[in-house]
Symmetry: C2
Subunit: 374 residues, 2 copies
């Protein structure tokens, strides 16, 4: 999977590039909308592509593994065809949801044993099996199984989790290379750097995963409760240790005002449920700050959700109409709000990318900082 | 409001026409999707117009009266602008929901006193006030306040409800004419024929309402639990008593296989929550009969919901994907299923209309009967 760097900011670590996937180009830096169960909640695939311009989305292996199951998806032509999405897809390894959703999990050297949150059935995810599941799904970018410690955590515990993550990455990567040899698959596998907020652990992990010469690398273990400044410091420290010519993916970040901050620190890819989840919960991100749509001030507000936005929702509907739909519990609210919030994130990234290409990233970042969301 | 009859079936009472509304033409016979709270649940207005080709939708006065309120909607430019729908809208009087949803209702000669199902606030709907509310909303077609008796019902009770309906229609229509004089409004008001399943009461009601010389007439009091054959008989009997040159609207019908039956009996307009509600509950109407999407047989069914349909859902997605979304509780399921079911209803009506225009209605009806839905 070829990653082409088109421009770099002379002041910060920001880069603009193109990641060439089997399902088309992904212009970076990029924000990936989350499509957990093979759907970005409430948004038609047509609107995701044509209206929002998404070039890549994320799907969750844990959920799809349990329901409808990877073999069923393979039988229907793979995940792209199953969900009728012909652009790029990144799948996570499933490990993160095992830790956050399932019961009775037990981590061993072999992998992680867990019970389905749907019906209690026991399952084992191993470094090789999660690669197999993702190969079966047919995603463009697969993630290695990792252990993401909570925060705060003792350095010894973080070191143990990091070293297990490295061993799992090695096992998984070797398995991936064998399978790639056998099948000629063009899917990429990204290892994940762990090490909590300890720079020395992050450095050790980055160095050891670097030996795999993977197509890209992820920075995991962020957004687990640590202060925002710490996340950014660790992202910057870790990104600088990763190969310059490979895409860097900061998992699970971030708030909209953090997007330029991560890019400035050398991050190329991000994902977060925030824009879609906040949309459903009544929070819109706009160029004028957060709009909490249930507030009485929007009752008769005939203006668009964001006057600076040209998404379908903002072109078509008023804050008053959105508030009415929200108060009435109408599902159209969620669809309209999600369309707007995702557009806001993707437009932000497109502006950032354009500014890197034109050499104005530093001033773009200053302008974005001055909006002062929250 | 001009109603132009373009063709009539020489065998049955079916007619094809165009109803010219202030918000564009409505080709009849027509099925009107229900947009209770100023939204057809889960469907973007753009898709309702461009993808489904709806020329008119229905909204519920009771719901909009309570939330967000007619004055708020007027302040935002009226219902069309509020919901960003520039085609025709029909509103009911609110009476039906008063009977089905609200607590502590009391019917008197003046009108109906009820408590809001949202917060218990008391309200009075009168023949004049429901006209005023609908004038404020700005719908193209307004409905007169009526009393719809349950079924079965004594003839004496049905007669009393029918005569009150006539008195209310007279009061409401006189008020409407005064207001129309004052404001130059182009909105139409349709009276509603009641009389339960008693032909003599229907005849008396139709004759007395006919004196109003209204722009159109509705047949109410159907689909209240009576046998299907009885509904069709009463619709046929009543339609024949209404002015030939005015549109006839059968309220709250029907099942998809009933559409040609009502048209054959001289009905021009219909509405029903069935296609959208059934969609959300997992029932799809197709050219091959009902598809109950949760059934295991659709688990790995790669075919479209309806091979004969060209809606977005059928062009894009498989039964297996829809089943996955339904089982996973994903809201995209409801949107996709509603798009299909409404398209199925509107396409059925468009086929019926085309067959009347081309003189083939009788054979079109035979073909539709042989599909044997259910």
């Amino acid at each position: 999977m070829r990653f082409e760097i088109q421009a770099e900011c002379p002041v910060t670590g920001a880069r603009a590039g193109v990641l060439h996937t089997p399902h088309g180009p992904v212009e970076t830096p990029v924000f990936m909308p989350v499509g957990t169960q093979a759907t970005v909640k409430g948004v038609l695939q047509r609107d995701l592509a044509e209206e929002l311009g998404a070039q890549i989305i994320l799907a969750n292996t844990y959920h799809l593994f349990l329901r409808p199951g990877p073999e069923l998806i393979r039988g229907l032509g793979g995940l792209h065809r199953f969900m009728a999405w012909d652009r790029a897809i990144l799948t996570d390894s499933g490990g993160f949801q095992v830790f956050s959703l399932s019961d009775l999990r037990r981590i061993g050297e072999e992998g992680v044993l867990f019970r389905s949150h749907l019906n209690g059935d026991p399952h084992l995810f191993t470094p090789a099996s999660t690669v197999d599941v993702q190969l079966t799904l047919g995603s463009d970018i697969m993630m290695a199984l990792d252990e993401c410690p909570p925060w705060p955590v003792d350095e010894a515990v973080a070191a143990e989790a990091m070293r297990r993550t490295v061993r799992w990455a090695n096992t998984g990567y070797a398995h991936y290379l064998r399978r790639r040899e056998e099948t000629g698959s063009a899917q990429a596998l990204f290892p994940i750097v762990q090490g909590s907020m300890f720079p020395s652990l992050r450095a050790e992990c980055a160095a050891r995963l670097g030996e795999l010469d993977a197509d890209g690398y992820a920075i995991g273990g962020l957004s687990v409760g640590e202060p925002r400044g710490t996340s950014l410091e660790i992202a910057a420290f870790t990104a600088a240790l990763l190969p310059r010519d490979r895409p860097r993916y900061a998992m699970g970040v971030g708030m909209p005002e953090e997007l330029p901050e991560y890019v400035a620190r050398g991050v190329d890819m991000m994902d977060c449920v925030l824009p879609s989840r906040d949309a459903r919960n009544g929070r819109l991100f706009t160029s004028e700050g957060r709009v909490i749509i249930k507030q009485a001030r929007y009752r008769d507000d005939s203006g668009p959700p964001d006057p600076a936005c040209d998404c379908y929702t903002c072109r078509t509907h008023s804050r008053a109409y959105l508030r009415h739909l929200f108060q009435a519990g109408e599902m159209l609210y969620s669809t309209l709000a999600t369309i707007h919030n995702i557009k806001y994130y993707l437009d932000t990234m497109r502006r950032i990318r354009q500014s890197i290409l034109s050499g104005d990233f530093a001033s773009c970042m200053d302008a974005m900082r001055s909006v002062g969301l929250e």
